[in-house]
Symmetry: C2
Subunit: 125 residues, 2 copies
Amino acid sequence: MEEKKIKKEDFNLLNCPIRTILDRFGDKWSVLVLLILGEKKKLRFNAINKEIGTDISQKMLTVTLRTLEADGLVLRTVYPEVPPRVEYEITPLGASLVPHIDNLAQWAAVNMQNIKTSRERFKNS
Amino acid sequence: MEEKKIKKEDFNLLNCPIRTILDRFGDKWSVLVLLILGEKKKLRFNAINKEIGTDISQKMLTVTLRTLEADGLVLRTVYPEVPPRVEYEITPLGASLVPHIDNLAQWAAVNMQNIKTSRERFKNS
DNA sequence: CAGGATCCTCACAGATACTG
DNA sequence: CAGTATCTGTGAGGATCCTG
């Protein structure tokens, strides 16, 4: 059995750290959840769901939260009650990432119109 | 003919600007190409290809460059020669984005081990 | 309430062959 | 040299049903 395939995990495109994090946060929901928890401190599952809107499926919210938890960016606390209560909050590590995302968001907000115009011009050329 | 489907382009998840840019740069190659062009100023197609390594296909490099060009982040100059010569360089807009990506990369480099450890612990729990 | 378990699908990415 | 044109697969994301 050969091993031609280099695993994404092991290679990470020249071990560029930026790629390692983009592999995680380039997905559809991680950043959004992180920003929400960065603001609101403590939230339950359905509360996060409401914050996002109806656009995320239960499954994807679960997957996203589990990934963030596994990475140590979000803390998940289960209270042994009936009905069950689960609260999510951002960790210091997660909080340290938020400002960087905010910076990117800032840049995006400032230059969005610029990009859209450029995109439009490109289409008609 | 109904129009139930909301196009990704039009919706952008609550028009959150951060999502708009992550939709673009969450892909596999855009950020890498941007960083390379941010350093090397002017490069030809095959030169970029070499910088990345053998891991990107011609097609994906073309697609990536075209998208960056459309967004106004990269300038594409075709010289009417035989054989053809095409040079790519970063635009001021693109250059203004690079530091933000670098910041993220910095964070990633600093906290990568932390995250990996956390991930390992999560797996064995 | 907070998910787990399934099934589906479609867009993105890759491989390959060809060309001005 | 710097691309196009096709074909194909894979897996993130979504819909739905079920449960401690």
